[in-house]
């Protein structure tokens, strides 16, 4: 097998991989938050509800990505900005209250991953793909969850 394959491996495919990994991470966080809410109750229930909502939104965005709608691209970008803002807020709180920064995994998940997705979606070639195409590309491989969620 060489590098040329029948599947679409352009920047949108890279976004699809990163967004799906982000969704999987948020699902894990949601499970963790629900367990914490069951064990400790109180405000942790609110945190769990927010995390579950974030997981649903992320998987929904992954599901809609192959349709290449401009609206989906905009929502993904807004969502990534939200992640970065929360990451920076978390960093500020960690620095202010505990006197230490984000952990490397926290930085990767809350800053580096959303910044990469945002940067890829801002590229002119990606933007043009979302402007030109309104329907699903049949040749593009997709996560099976996409069909269930779309």
């Amino acid at each position: 097998m060489n590098n040329t394959t029948h599947v679409n491996e352009g920047p949108v495919a890279a976004v699809s991989v990163l967004l799906f990994v982000q969704g999987a991470i948020v699902v894990s966080l949601a499970v963790e938050a629900v367990v914490a809410a069951v064990m400790f109750g109180g405000l942790s229930a609110l945190s769990a509800a927010l995390t579950v909502a974030a997981a649903v939104v992320t998987l929904r965005l992954v599901a809609n990505l192959p349709k290449r709608r401009r609206r989906t691209r905009r929502w993904i970008m807004r969502f990534q900005v939200g992640w970065i803002v929360f990451g920076l807020l978390d960093l500020a709180l960690a620095l202010g209250l505990a006197g230490r920064g984000l952990t490397p995994s926290g930085f990767l998940v809350r800053i580096a991953l959303p910044t990469s997705i945002f940067w890829l979606l801002r590229r002119p070639s990606v933007r043009s793909e979302f402007e030109d195409r309104e329907s699903t590309d049949e040749t593009e491989p997709s996560w099976e969850l996409e069909e269930a969620w779309a």
Binding site: A14, S16, V17, F20, V27, S28, L108, P141
Partner: protein, 215 residues
């Protein structure tokens, strides 16, 4: 201090939230990798033959494979760095072997040879052993955790292009979610298993060597 420590304290104080001293070399190697990347790019612009060849091979790769290239390069550097920190143990030898295997896949990717099956095998074996080590109480720390996340993302690149029926693609999607879940779970479990004792050893190695209780 070790007398009445709750499960929550053991989790929060766990070394999973810190960088183990023996993993420091991994950070140095990742920074070194970034510098090498800049140097290769600079030399290619200046007309260097080997660096130019390397850059042109990289540039013909599709975006997904470029992403995979970066993931594997960083992951291999981190595994090598962690191996150097544990050079005298079997875990160090294992991490070194994983780093070599990742570099071998990277080479095949650049040369345009088949790499998907090999990458899947390397990632699945590496992740399974890493998770086993974490649950067995070996200190994963943040560097090990980040390496596992990079390896799961590399696995996701392969699984995304699974060619087959609905069931096969659903299995691929669930494998990615499961792999992330197990990585988190192993981190959590390993954090509790490793617990406060390892944290104390990190913070006051002198006290431990002299047998004193950590303040």
């Amino acid at each position: 201090m070790n007398g009445d420590v709750s499960l929550l304290d053991r989790y929060v104080d766990s070394p999973i939230y810190g960088i183990a001293p023996e993993h420091g070399m991994a950070i140095v190697l990742v920074l070194g990798l970034a510098m090498v990347a800049f140097a290769v790019r600079f030399l290619a612009r200046r007309g260097g033959r080997r660096s130019g060849d390397l850059v042109s091979r990289y540039r013909v790769l599709p975006s997904v494979q470029r992403l995979l290239f970066s993931l594997l390069a960083v992951s291999a550097s981190m595994n090598l760095g962690m191996a150097m920190g544990r050079a005298d143990s079997l875990v160090g030898e294992w991490l070194f072997a994983v780093a070599i295997a990742e570099v071998a896949v990277l080479r095949r990717l650049l040369k345009g040879r088949s790499w998907r099956r090999r990458l899947s095998v390397v990632m699945i074996v590496a992740l399974t052993v890493s998770l086993g080590l974490a649950v067995a109480g070996f200190t994963v720390g943040q560097i090990g955790f980040v390496t596992a996340l990079l390896e799961v993302t590399a696995l996701a690149v392969v699984l995304r292009s699974v060619d087959g029926g609905r069931v096969l693609r659903l299995a691929a999607s669930l494998t990615v979610i499961g792999a992330i879940g197990f990585t988190t779970l192993a981190g959590w479990g390993g954090a509790v298993v490793a617990g406060i004792g390892v944290e104390v050893r990190w913070r006051c190695p002198r006290s431990e060597s002299s047998g004193d209780a950590c303040p």
